[in-house]
Subunit: 219 residues, 2 copies
């Protein structure tokens, strides 16, 4: 029974990493869709969100089954309840990819406002945070988790920079306003991706150290 349990726990980890890989891929692809003004790719990202949602339901089911069948305690119990919370964050990262895809499709209706430089940098950072937060979870690695939390400030700084730059565009030429606002929204969606990764990382520290790290780590 115990061997079986640990095999199933390993399978859970693998599925969770696969879901993480998929949402990272969704962010990567939607940024290509935005940068290359590729409407087909943006629509693909939107369609593929059903796969993300399917993972959410699957992992949730697996966790409830593991709890019911093996009634784990202590560390394993917390590992599973943390997985149930992490999938929710991953699913919502997937939603942000869809939000960006929708704005990208709208942006394609007009000429490009400016070359995008900070948005892809922001996306790369956010994507890396997602990957690291999941690595921290499966490896129960609090040092890595804390690094993710500290990276959030860089993403916020980029968001502020993008906002200030686009504000200048809007103030100088009112015709740029609708496009600028869409780009500001995209930066906010990417910020939320980073926030979800930070949430995951905080849960990992909490899971491992079982003390009140959440809500006390400097953001």
């Amino acid at each position: 029974m115990q061997r079986h349990f640990h095999e199933e726990l390993d399978a859970l980890k693998q599925t969770l990493l696969a879901m993480g890989g998929l949402v990272e891929e969704q962010i990567r692809r939607v940024m290509i869709a935005l940068l290359e003004r590729d409407g087909d790719l943006a629509r693909e990202v939107i369609e593929r969100d059903t796969q993300v949602n399917a993972y959410d339901v699957e992992i949730d089911e697996t966790c409830v089954e593991l709890l019911a069948l093996y009634q784990p305690t202590a560390g394993d119990l917390r590992f599973i309840t943390t997985a149930m919370k992490i999938v929710t964050d991953l699913e919502r990262i997937g939603d942000q990819a869809v939000n960006i895809a929708q704005r990208a499709l709208e942006l394609n209706q007009e000429p490009q406002l400016k070359p995008y430089i900070d948005l892809p940098r922001m996306a790369e950072k956010a994507q890396r945070m997602v990957k690291e937060s999941l690595d921290a979870y499966v490896g129960r690695d609090t040092a890595l988790a804390r690094r993710v939390c500290s990276e959030d400030a860089e993403v916020d700084a980029l968001k502020e920079q993008i906002f200030r730059e686009l504000l200048t565009f809007m103030m100088e030429d009112a015709r740029t306003i609708p496009r600028a606002i869409r780009l500001i929204l995209i930066s906010r969606f990417l910020e939320r991706v980073a926030d979800h990764a930070t949430n995951i990382a905080e849960m990992v520290v909490y899971m491992v150290e079982s003390k009140m790290v959440r809500h006390t780590l400097a953001r």
Copy 2:
């Protein structure tokens, strides 16, 4: 032991409702702070978020303890794992109140752009959705939960209306842009409150009917 378990389950429900009451109150108060340009009240809302976070940790701990001590199965197991997910949504609704408070403080630096009419309506709807979603949870009431899901469209419609109106302001007078953007952001924060309530409602339907309702309900 079983009687004890059900008493503790009842206590969990009460604590969750208390947390829900607190975040509703946070939304209510931050909207007064915005409408009455009351900086002190906005700062109070920001400070009070620590209470919301304390509930998050407390309920999470209680749930893990209940799972470890009583090893519940079937409906009770799912009720507890759902509680663990719901607190995360409630905590993030609390974060939206803080986000609004910060924008309200910034808006106080300049004269008011326009009388706010749709924002308070949006806030009221979102607040009601939060209350109803939690009532649906404790009452395992799927009809009410489905109603919450259907209300989300009204909030989205108000958000679009606010966006279009503020776009007109910005196009006509560039000096209104920073204020208009802050108001647009506030409408997005309220939209996220409604989204969290919808997430809770979807989880309730899923918990009760244990079939794939999440991600299939019309948004």
